[in-house]
Symmetry: C2
Subunit: 117 residues, 2 copies
């Protein structure tokens, strides 16, 4: 997995890193169970701060693509499982918020159908 970042670009460094890792994931260059390089290490090789890498990793975790644990590092989750888990999570969040606003099931589904690509 080769990553490069360009400090002169407009996009934040963390986002560039996250995008690069996402690309490597979708291209299948890293498999489920693989570990991403430790934030310190990758940061050093990219000449950016550990925390910047960590922020990129946090994004990927929020998307369900990796698991982040102290002392263990960033472990790549199974793509399909990760995507599925993320979808479940979004569905649950949506329904919870909709209920909070008093929407019933029909109104929810109507909302979903109304979302345009």
């Amino acid at each position: 997995m080769l990553i490069r970042v360009d400090p002169s670009e407009q996009r934040p460094l963390a986002e560039q890193i996250a995008a690069a890792v996402r690309g490597a994931l979708t291209r299948g260059e890293v498999a489920a169970g693989d570990r991403l390089p430790p934030a310190r290490e990758l940061g050093q090789s990219l000449d950016v701060n550990m925390h910047t890498v960590l922020r990129a990793y946090a994004q990927l975790r929020d998307d369900g693509l990796i698991e982040l644990r102290r002392g263990r590092g960033a472990v790549v989750r199974d793509h399909v499982d990760a995507a599925r888990a993320h979808l479940d999570d979004l569905a649950r969040q949506f329904v919870e918020q909709a209920r909070r606003l008093g929407l019933d099931d029909d109104e929810m589904t109507a909302m979903i159908r109304k979302v345009q690509p």
Copy 2:
């Protein structure tokens, strides 16, 4: 809006601050259009770092409760609007992810209906 934090608590400071502001919002102590105190200022009065306050504010922004703009500060959104906007956002995210996984509209609505409290 009175906020206090307890550094000896387990919860991160940023989360404590976010929770306190959320409470003030739901209790109606601050109205739509009001501005939250600048991060530096609130940080100083709480004796925590500006950045810690900023993290709390970022959480509230992600929940749609406030708008955060450089140079302008943290503006409280209308509760109903904010909740509605957040719901719209969740719906869009859900549909996007579902499409990415190849689900059609019927499968999406089925998923929504299957979410039980």
